[in-house]
Symmetry: C2
Subunit: 334 residues, 2 copies
């Protein structure tokens, strides 16, 4: 899955920013790929990008219309269809992370074929994914892992990628979820992959590379989640990680939505992730802890960061609040 | 997925028994469900069942025609189609574990609708599988796990199920692969399930049950396989196992087809499986070791069984060669 850039981001009639989380994520993390926004008259959200119609955006060099909002239910409303058609007629690919497949919207497939543009459904994994084989690949890989779901693995990976590039290190963010794929322009939607092919999919999106190149891989799920741990283990094995960053939210009292499922200690989590990762890379190291401290006071944050460092013996940071420098130093030294 | 029995087993024009492994498995493990075999004139394989045409089998009480052979490539040859249609016209469901979906064979779907029979593709998982939640369920569960793929997990689970029933214990074999599903008449084809739903699928096929009832669950893959470990972990978590039996082949020098991937020691394998299983059942116990000693001499077999017992402190057996009594005793005492 490879998406043509730059984007014009479609915001539809979005009434509030929370509906446009995808759009804000792409704008924040791939600003160079965001050429314009396209808003219907009722739209109340503003990304701060130039407003352009699909035709104007195409004339200015845009290659894809990216659907940047998620309507209730994840379906494509009928009211959008004329707009999507006008984008196709302007020569733009359409890129969607919604549940409705673009081909299933009346008339889009024919029009896309006529105008030789692509309809890209970010939720649909490629066919013919391989089974993972564990064969050693050149290049270096970092994977973000977590005590639970939804506590900063994507944000941490994006932060580390940016910081590596700022130091002049060759690095690529490797996306495993929909928003990540829209940011990176490629990746695999792991939540739609048949279980037999999870590790193989990750091997495919993190191929052999130059010896000093880093793939920074977006983690998913958690080894401690009763429903998703298998996905996480496939991701750990397929990534053949040289380095792990453990992500955690100190305010979380149990696995999200699972009050009967205890959170692991940082020590236990680090131990289990290293054990798992050693299957395909015996030299894997934990290089840092990433804490989501958004719900803590300044004093509590400092305490939590310091406690985590003491518990695991590696540097800690909060990608939204503190510097990643110490973790980067550790990573590049390892 | 629930299959109507008894079966008439279709052997087509199979030239040698190896092509009919599924048929032999069903005959050996579910003899009470096998009413007849149906062979084309060229067929060289004999299950020892009465020969009946679909119409004769239906008249004798058969409910499904089970395709018991795997042609090269796993596709349904055109030459079979008239026979399958005659089975539908006789009122039989058609049950297939092949790659070709029965609905994709010209004319079958319409005919099945007309005769109100089912076309069951054992490789196609049910839709709307849940995500696993790890909530405690009543009843007891045993899972067979392995140091690698394809070394006796299904055979071990079937043997234990049979032995439990022989002792008067309520037990059900729970199938997670195609042959297992045909034997059990239900189950989930785990190799086709989207990764997010593996644990949930297992929770669904091993539901809450009477306190003294045992589900004996067919294991898949291995935590030590670089491609399939994620599937195995979802299976371990979803099964919420009270008891594990570790399956191993002492003659295997590395993970099959992966010479770069070492086999774990029995001790390491037992440790990792127990750690993993504790997430959803802190009281899980290893109750036995099942060895596939088919390639060993009698003296080597005895030595291997004794070594395994000493290494793990639980009874060992080879389901094809020795008694499961000691493992059963341990299981029922635990």
């Amino acid at each position: 899955m490879s998406i043509r850039k730059p984007y014009v981001i479609f915001l539809g009639d979005a009434a509030e920013p929370v509906l446009a989380k995808t759009a804000f994520g792409v704008r924040d993390w791939a600003p160079e790929d965001c050429l314009a926004q396209w808003r219907l008259p009722e739209c109340k959200v503003d990304l701060g990008l130039p407003d352009k119609t699909p035709a104007e955006a195409a004339a200015a060099g845009a290659r894809s219309l990216l659907i940047g909002i998620a309507p209730g239910g994840g379906r494509i409303p009928a009211a959008w269809v004329p707009g999507l058609k006008s984008a196709i007629e302007a020569g733009l690919d359409i890129v969607s992370g919604l549940h409705t497949r673009l081909e299933d919207v009346e008339g889009l497939a024919e029009l896309a074929a006529k105008h030789k543009v692509q309809l890209i459904n970010v939720r649909t994994p490629p066919t013919n994914l391989p089974v993972g084989n564990g064969l050693k690949r050149t290049g270096k890989r970092l994977l973000t892992v977590g005590t639970d779901c939804a506590l900063g693995k994507k944000y941490t990976a994006l932060t580390i990628t940016k910081a590596l590039k700022a130091r002049g290190v060759a690095a690529d963010f490797r996306a495993t979820g929909q928003t990540g794929i829209l940011i990176a322009g490629s990746g695999v939607p792991l939540d739609s992959v048949v279980a037999d092919f999870v590790a193989g999919a990750i091997e495919q999106i993190t191929p052999a590379a130059a010896a000093d190149h880093w793939d920074v891989i977006e983690g998913q799920g958690s080894l401690f989640h009763p429903g998703y741990a298998g996905v996480t283990l496939g991701l750990v094995h397929g990534s053949q990680a040289d380095a792990l960053i453990l992500c955690h939210d100190p305010s979380r009292k149990h696995i999200a939505y699972h009050p009967h499922q205890a959170m692991p200690s940082l020590k236990l989590a680090a131990t289990r992730y290293l054990e798992a990762a050693q299957l395909t890379n015996p030299n894997v190291k934990l290089v840092g802890v990433s804490l989501n401290t958004s719900s803590l006071s300044q004093a509590e944050r400092e305490r939590a960061l310091s406690d985590a460092e003491n518990e695991l013996g590696v540097p800690s940071f909060d990608p939204l609040k503190t510097s990643s420098d110490a973790v980067l130093d550790r990573l590049l030294k390892a």
